[in-house]
Symmetry: C2
Subunit: 317 residues, 2 copies
Amino acid sequence: MASPTTVQESLAQDGARVDAYLRDALTRLTAPAAPPRLLEAISYSLFAGGKRLRPALVLACWRACRRHERSTDVARSALAAAGAIELIHTFSLVHDDLPAMDDDDLRRGRPTNHKVFGEAMAVLAGDAMVTLAFELIATDVSVEPALAVALSRELSRAAGPVGMIGGQVLDMDGENAQLTYEQLVGLHRMKTGALITASCRMGALCAGAGAGAGAGAGADENMLASVTSFGAHLGLAFQIIDDVLDETSTPEQMGKHTGKDAARGKNTYPVLLGLDGARRAAREQLDAALAALHSFAPSPAGDELGALARFVVERRH
Amino acid sequence: MASPTTVQESLAQDGARVDAYLRDALTRLTAPAAPPRLLEAISYSLFAGGKRLRPALVLACWRACRRHERSTDVARSALAAAGAIELIHTFSLVHDDLPAMDDDDLRRGRPTNHKVFGEAMAVLAGDAMVTLAFELIATDVSVEPALAVALSRELSRAAGPVGMIGGQVLDMDGENAQLTYEQLVGLHRMKTGALITASCRMGALCAGAGAGAGAGAGADENMLASVTSFGAHLGLAFQIIDDVLDETSTPEQMGKHTGKDAARGKNTYPVLLGLDGARRAAREQLDAALAALHSFAPSPAGDELGALARFVVERRH
């Protein structure tokens, strides 16, 4: 494949790789007994044209942390990590959209999962995406068991009570209560930041960073620390921009209903800081994310991560 | 601890061990950031006085497959496997009881999770139990990474689209359709059988069975095959008796509403075979489960498994 020259091309190329991998994995892991209607419900949300930002971060961090700079192949472990992250992300969207949760009927420009398949199936399809994420890692990274365990641990922790799911509970509880800036940041570090940070860390782990032994272990630890800081700042920048876009974009641009957060009394960055203040805060987080990349610069892989981060903050949907 | 002399004592002793382990693990894995209300919702259902049958099967199969017969300590890996299985089982109950699913308001003699904490929290608490199950394995079995990966794979596969969740979809789709005996057995092999079989297999894996290398690998493979067959037959016996009890017991005996299956047109063994026919089918499955234990007999550990199986079929709630 030709090397991508823009971040959009890079996202499209990595997205296509991960999609192809996920389609194959879904077929492998669900044969022969999985009910067709369940697979249909899973595929409907998983292949709905998401940006594949998290898988792209896994693969870009994997490339940035690899020893052999020139190889462009994508190792199976990095693909498994990318696919597992996207399964967890998609599961969270399907459950978030349920009537008992955010009660949304539009996602990625299409009716939400429960609108098409019913609530019971949407619950079960989301549940199945979680087990499939961990099965993917345990199956496709099994030749490197220590790595598989490290990936499984990162993912479960980032998705669970101290990560994404915990953040969703705080978000729910925080509706119609006035949060401070610090509380809002704390909530989002869990709700969106944990999975974005885990994407970066899992990519680095697949490249051997943080393995903690042998020559260059120190450098490896530094790389893992760098992508962790990069991911944490990028995660916040992503969420702040998400809040800004929710206020300033049309449903057509976003593929989902907009302006709902403010209407239901949710705490958002624009509400706390104003639109300009929120944009400034996102820019500060972007600068901090870019600063965390100094151990990679100047390299094509480091540049790629920087371009991805800028894209996240400058995107229009 | 004194050796238990009855199956009830054994269940109580293993249940107490697993409960203590799970309480400690929950504290460890959710510190410091998990929202207290989420932990409350998880604990409410996890420590609701379940029979702990699946963890007991993990530990009993672990004891039956161990090389060193006389030691009575419980290895941490077996406890982690038992705890993870119970988290997955409890998650399935919480989501099953949701209004969009079976819409139950009574479970283990208490109001169901969503009745106490609301639907959104019940969805999230169930989700969190899944991620915690995999985090438990990745954290507490990490010193034996190949075992951790094998356990994670067993659990994810047994819980997912070709196992429990797939079976729930078939069960839902099968309501008000007439299933054949073979279809009903196929459904239950997935819905309840997969997790019960996985309990037995995970216990055996923790004892080193199926590791596939070194002296005695052949014997190990035989043991794994034996507990797999034992678990599969026991799982069916368990489900048939569950159906029988749903028709013949009071809500007070069962801790949940009874007679609902027939009322909603669900396919059950008593409907297909009559009560006597269903009891006979359960007995046949029990006999097949006991026959699968011949490679262990005569040993205390093999006897223990046999007693557990008889208890499952002869229970009154």
